[in-house]
Homo-oligomer: 409 residues x 2
């Protein structure tokens, strides 16, 4: 795509009404726009990244049998009263229609998915079932000052699993754990994300969070270096030791909760009467698990983890474009190279704007596309472009044919 | 995909709490689920169709320069007060946060897109700009009894265009008109959709609706057979004649409004002070157009237009699968053919359920996938499957190799 065609502009200054780094830099670089506290628009570059993250999540959920659906945000009060969360869930936004009917804006979707699945599950033969959706969630967060890390409106992938037995739930829970690490690894958060023990409610001793180390994190986790896992604040205050090896010498660190998985048991199937019949026709409660991972929060987390003083450094799999072509007064030749890249199947952003080379370089570093390609008299003489990785200092001349081979997905 | 893996089930009866055909048949066939009046979930089959419609719309919007973004649903009251629509738009859902801040749930997005674009547009050099998003909209509809045709929560593609001159707006408006007809043609509504004159507000004499002929339609249009266009009820009551040729012998018909396009002029740029500077630095109001097309309503409309007494007949481009493979007691052979289809790149649904052939045929007709492939002793003897189009009576034996060539996208 030609950069002159993208309607957004980068700015010289950071926005004054933002305190979080991720929102500041994403606004400055033209990826998002702030509408209100915890409420953002995704602009063309941000939308591309957001969609790439969603697609990676979608692929990994489908790989473990997840069936994609889409559930509504506007939820009848009755559903939330049944589970006790109309009054029990503090962050719930509530509203009233002209016909005096009351609604919740879904902050999570157990209250929708359980009665929905109940209309299709009858016997043990219909189980297990795994459904997920990627949908906007609404939460009336009292403090929404962390940019995309804590939104009042944000995107969420929530998967719900339905089982006949605890063993089957346990088994699937482990599969989701593995799938989550695949996702975090693919979006560039694998190495800094810890499997973290959290409180489990009534059904299981623990639930688990996926916590990404970051100074911007609002959580504090205690890391066991031997087991390569962590416990959250709540747990460590209770037991003061690693739940796996028992050692007490844990290292505290700030972290962002990028995902969580939870064994619900019959907590939500019971109020809606979601049962299955066994081989002899006897009814039992369906057992459930729920698994959350927010694409917009993940996007903010990637920015918190991958940046330097000049701007963002996108991991390749989620970058808005594979490469950023910049011309140093060689527009005619650059245009040709851009066309070669595009027809070769390379996803390139071409800075064709009539501004100085210096301004183009500043913007390229700010926007953070993984490979910068510079077309100059020098590079043309050597028969190619100067390719430089965003996180490296030195570039090298690469011929166009090799470039296409290298950058093609 | 194997049908046994899809968690939804078809039902024998139509749902009793639905009066509209589209919702009745989509629920019966397992495409959607009703959460409340005008509020539906998309189940796996319905989600596939919904996404295909969205992607066709997306492609045609990008083809006319549209840049995709994503704007929030939770909108600050101030934005809606600025345009006079906080009190002026009757269908607006309103809510209050715990901090007493008031919000609207976006029923349309002028109040978000104008201040957003204002932060990136300064001079005539920055125009024109075309942005669109595909987002959930909320409207407090007093009567929400038409299934997907009139939702309280529904999907909408809204495109907004920004121009320096009326001529430029007029020119783009024509491009959108052509793109809309491409979309309606691709999703199977081209032949029954009329370009319809509607009232235009203060800026232009007319706006335009795209009206699809259907007995389920809530609108009445008057068709001019000579000009192959229509006028809506409002206009015909005023002028009683075709706006193009002037003839008064117009034919009345029920229709569903599947899209509308509107020249806004400076109606929304003025309240937000969205201006551009000309060559001499003088500021002018930016002129706008807006263009709506709802994927979920389009889905409901397709169902109203394309069905028979047995069920849905999906147009190929939006069908959940390209073909529906059904085995008549030849599961081993059918399984092999399914694998051949899949590895050949054909998007096949394979009914591998242990139910009678009769039940499978009833479900295949109900679900409405364009091609039914039957594997039987007879078809295997002739070296293939019996392929029958959903809307034809007779099938014919087709060899697998030919089938793959024919059904591959």
């Amino acid at each position: 795509m030609k950069q002159s065609k993208i309607f957004t502009k980068t700015t010289k200054e950071l926005p004054k009404d933002e305190t979080s780094y991720n929102a500041q830099i994403l606004i400055k670089a033209g990826f998002i726009d702030k509408l209100g506290a915890g409420v953002y628009s995704f602009l063309p570059l941000g939308h591309l990244v957001h969609e790439k993250i969603k697609n990676i999540i979608r692929q990994e959920m489908e790989a473990i049998g997840g069936q994609e659906i889409l559930m509504p945000a506007l939820n009848p009060k009755e559903n939330w009263e049944k589970t006790g969360r109309w009054d029990g869930l503090e962050v719930l936004f509530k509203l009233k229609g002209k016909d005096k009917k009351e609604y919740a804006l879904a902050a999570t979707h157990e209250e929708v998915v359980v009665p929905l699945v109940k209309r299709h599950i009858f016997s043990y033969k219909d189980l297990p079932v795994y459904v997920f959706h990627i949908q906007t969630k609404f939460r009336d967060e009292p403090r929404a000052k962390a940019g995309l890390l804590r939104g009042r409106e944000f995107s969420m992938k929530d998967l719900y699993s339905f089982h006949t037995s605890e063993a089957d739930l346990d088994d699937y829970y482990e599969k989701v754990k593995v799938a989550y690490f695949k996702i975090f690894s693919r979006i560039g958060l694998g190495e800094v994300t810890f499997f973290t023990f959290a409180s489990g409610g009534s059904f299981s001793k623990y639930s688990h969070e996926f916590q990404t180390l970051s100074a911007a994190g609002e959580d504090i986790i205690s890391i066991c270096d031997q087991c390569k896992l962590a416990v959250n604040k709540e747990i460590i205050e209770e037991q003061k030791a690693c739940p796996q090896c028992g050692q007490q010498d844990l290292k505290q660190a700030k972290a962002i909760e990028v995902g969580n998985i939870f064994k619900l048991g019959s907590r939500y199937s019971k109020p809606f009467g979601l049962t299955f019949t066994d081989g002899s026709g006897k009814p039992h409660d369906v057992l459930m698990g729920c698994y959350g991972l927010g694409p917009s929060r993940a996007l903010g987390t990637i920015v918190e983890v991958h940046h330097d003083e000049k701007g963002i450094i996108w991991p390749e799999a989620v970058a808005p474009f594979a490469c950023h072509l910049v011309s140093l007064n060689k527009n005619e030749e650059a245009e040709k190279i851009y066309e070669q890249l595009v027809s070769g199947g390379v996803d390139a952003l071409y800075d064709d704007r009539e501004i100085s080379a210096g301004e183009k370089f500043v913007d390229a570093d700010l926007i953070g596309i993984p490979y910068r390609l510079v077309v100059s008299a020098k590079s043309l003489q050597a028969g190619g472009v100067e390719m430089k990785k965003r996180n490296e200092k030195e570039g090298k001349i690469v011929k166009i044919v090799e470039l296409i081979k290298y950058l093609k997905p």
